[in-house]
Symmetry: C2
Subunit: 507 residues, 2 copies
């Protein structure tokens, strides 16, 4: 059926049909149609929504994300036909029934995810099934390869290509801002793609965006890497393993962390950028994604097995994850802290040591440093200013100001200092509470929002000394963050009252 196109700019996939046309075509809500842009030679299978008013008979509404592939202009003519029920739905059901999927079946699902043939609900069913029934290593390998094959890949002619990945869950984990320039300064190529925060207070891409652009195509990432040795960009813009975004989105409401999915997600991005040598940072401990150290070792073995299956050398670093890395949480605060270290600051220890350890492993793996000499080699590059110089080059290549200095990065003007209610040692920092407060304060969207920790775990504080400061760009957000802080108590000082009824003033 020929229908006139109406563009619908909603962050959704699919098409919108008038009920009369839908009946004529023979489809109901949830069924699929094939939509063809004959002029451009494009065709998409989209999920149908129906309406009786906003799309009149003879018109087809095309949602924004579907039209990004169809490239219709408003008013153009679309050919719309009933589409077959995708066979991938049978494979999803097979997985729900506890069976293992073959390589071809997994590929079919991932292809239909990427091509928007499956709806969010259907993708959720797949994720739920893999989460509940699990995947063995072979199935994870299939998934990884399918995610790679359905997106862009970088093709480097020089080797080795190195990469790192932190599996996340720890606030303030800004180490890529140090690791990338250090290893690039050592002459290695590290085309690092990062995520934006979904449930966190700032992903590496959110951080880097404070000082440079982060949205580049895969081709641009490759060129920039060849030019200056490294990038720090947002993976979402590269169309590398695009299925991953969809998988992550459907896990978001449940804060699901489906193990097999996570393995595939990480490995697919590493395969797609052409990495030969990879180090995976696995934060362990209470409040992280891996509370138990044995669980962390098991996960490390799985990453390494996946590396073997995918022809990639993988090493894992189990890192301390019960406290934030460094003292800053939130985009501007974190960038300020990382730049200051590149500029020569000798604190915070936790950030510097972790970054040098991870960078050191990559230097050792690549032969740039002897075994057990990677840390010192990385430290040298940091201390002699080479890492800062490289970071300036990377910033410049990504369209930022290479002369940017840490002190020029100013966090939100609305601030609230929390003081120690009594003297004692800081006995606990609650990762999740800190993240929640930073988000309430506006992070990551408000780049200047976040938390700066004055006293870390194990430090002695005197009554009335500041233990942390909340920053916000807007007053009402600060108020909300303060209220949340009162409720969540993100830091405890030894002997400190956790609650008191009736309430007294906080700090």
């Amino acid at each position: 059926m020929k229908l006139s196109v109406k563009l619908i700019d909603i962050t959704q996939r699919g098409v919108l049909l008038n009920k009369l046309d839908a009946r004529e075509i023979g489809v109901m809500d949830g069924d699929r149609v094939q939509v063809i842009n004959q002029a451009k030679g494009k065709s998409v299978t989209g999920v149908v929504n129906t309406t009786t008013t906003i799309i009149e008979k003879g018109t087809v509404g095309v949602f924004a994300q579907t039209n990004s592939r169809l490239e219709f202009a408003a008013g153009e003519s679309a050919e719309v036909r009933e589409a077959e029920r995708p066979v991938s739905l049978d494979y999803v059901k097979k997985k729900m029934n506890g069976e293992k999927l073959t390589k071809d079946e997994v590929f079919e699902i991932v292809k239909d995810v990427v091509e928007d043939t499956l709806s969010s609900s259907e993708i959720t069913a797949y994720i739920s099934a893999t989460y509940i029934n699990g995947m063995d290593m072979e199935e994870v390998e299939h998934l990884t390869k399918a995610m790679v094959d359905t997106g862009e890949s970088l093709k480097f002619t020089t080797h080795p290509i190195v990469d790192k990945h932190s599996i996340g869950g720890v606030p303030g984990n800004k180490i890529s801002l140090l690791v990338v320039p250090i290893v690039a300064a050592a002459g290695l190529k590290i085309p690092k793609t990062s995520s934006r925060a979904i449930t966190g207070a700032g992903g590496t891409a959110d951080l880097m965006e404070v000082i440079a652009s982060v949205e580049f195509s895969a081709q641009e990432v490759q060129e920039m890497t060849m030019k200056v040795g490294g990038t720090i960009v947002w993976g979402g813009a590269t169309n590398i393993a695009p299925a991953d975004d969809r998988f992550i989105t459907v896990q978001y409401p449940f804060k699901l962390d489906a193990r097999g999915q996570m393995l595939a997600s990480v490995m697919a991005k590493k395969v797609a950028v052409g990495a030969d040598l990879v180090v995976i940072d696995i934060p362990v401990g209470r409040g992280t994604k891996v509370p138990d150290i044995n669980e962390g070792r098991k996960l490390a073995r799985e990453f390494m097995e996946m590396g073997e299956r995918l022809d990639m050398r993988v090493e894992c670093a189990l890192t301390y994850g019960e406290s934030p890395v460094g003292r800053a949480i939130g985009p501007k605060l974190e960038v300020r802290e990382a730049l200051a270290v590149l500029e020569g600051a000798t604190i915070p220890n936790s950030l510097i040591q972790k970054s040098l350890s991870i960078a050191g492993i990559l230097l050792e793996m690549s032969g740039k440093a002897a075994m057990n000499a990677g840390y010192e080699a990385a430290e040298k590059i940091l201390r002699n200013g080479k890492a800062l110089e490289k970071m300036h080059q990377i910033i410049e290549t990504q369209g930022g100001d290479p002369k940017v200095k840490s002190e020029e990065i100013v966090p939100g003007e609305h601030q609230f200092v929390v003081n120690a209610p009594q003297s004692g040692y800081v006995i606990e920092l609650n990762n999740q509470a800190l993240i929640t407060i930073a988000r309430e304060a506006g992070a990551p969207h408000d780049r200047g929002a976040g938390i700066y920790i004055h006293a870390k775990k194990g430090m002695k504080v005197n009554r009335g000394e500041p233990i942390f400061t909340i920053y916000a760009e807007r007053g009402w957000r600060l108020q909300r963050a303060i209220e949340t802080g009162r409720r969540l108590m993100p830091m405890l000082v030894e002997g400190m009252l956790i609650d008191r009824v009736p309430k007294v003033h906080w700090a």
Copy 2:
């Protein structure tokens, strides 16, 4: 934040915000906002979609199904606030993790389903989790009660109220059109609510709509039942157990048949109409939802246990399900066949015997007939014209023409007769293939589309004699159904070639 309302008539739930407003409120796609219609005192928590163009800053788009609860007129002012993440998401995750949910947790999920607080994806995750991890009888009981409590209920002052339910899967199963008038003619009250076809060729509601209205409120169903003893209406319009519609919708793409869900779905509707005595028709055999007889017995025990838990007497009838019930498939064809039986036709046997058996059980359970005398009692009511008279009353009460005669119901004018390719016995009828062909021909939307079977299983046919006819309202649909028929071969005659390469003409 105060926003001006724009109504968006899309068969969806939730609200649409301009990205700038969303950021100001502090929500992303997939988060939730509370939308308040202060003038009407209505408040709804809705899932957020964002856009940059079709909803301008200062405006909130409200999708049709959400506005049916908010009752905004276009341009009115809405208060929109960030809403807490619903706790029901944690319960869904708990179920995904294989744990059993408490009564309160199940209620919270179902409430959020009915109130559109959960998105389709989130409901899918719940259904997937109950499907994969299963539910024990206690959890099914909780789910049943929650589904009842979140919708309308009928409150009869006279008893017993009787009801029947067929779990479906067998084409042509039009027995409610006979059972309801028979038991109502016996003086019983049977407020029957039925479904529309989702994957079938015609639900009972689709059938009844050929001769009467089927959309009534719960209150109207109660009044009509008190007046004439029975109804045959569409459950979807009554707001009885409204969660069920959402659960069924998300199962549709996968043709899922989650056992616990199905038990709860059936029982909730029976509890909500106030049924005291219920018979469940469980078709068994190849091509049905219950291929194995022992599986059927197990399901029957589960229905009976649920009956005990819910203070309702339940009996189950395991029925032959490998062939269609009667000879007609598709709304008009089925209504014509059922009316003809009420008018005195003595075929088809399978339809008459099954209807009388089910009606007979209800007559025995209610004491209207002695044990083992129910079938004959039902037969008497059918044969003496009381059932026809009662059906006319029901049709009239539901706004149809009580004088309607079977021969006045004319199926689609486009017809294709399939003849036996050789002489022999009909050895197989494939339920799913018959349904698929009927749907391709236009059923259930095109009321006149469907299939009429001339030779049922076990019957002898001579070469060239008709074995079935396909009916359609539109020529192109008939063509499509014919092509599908060639591919699927829904009926086999002993010794008949199933396929031949290269292809020869069909029949």
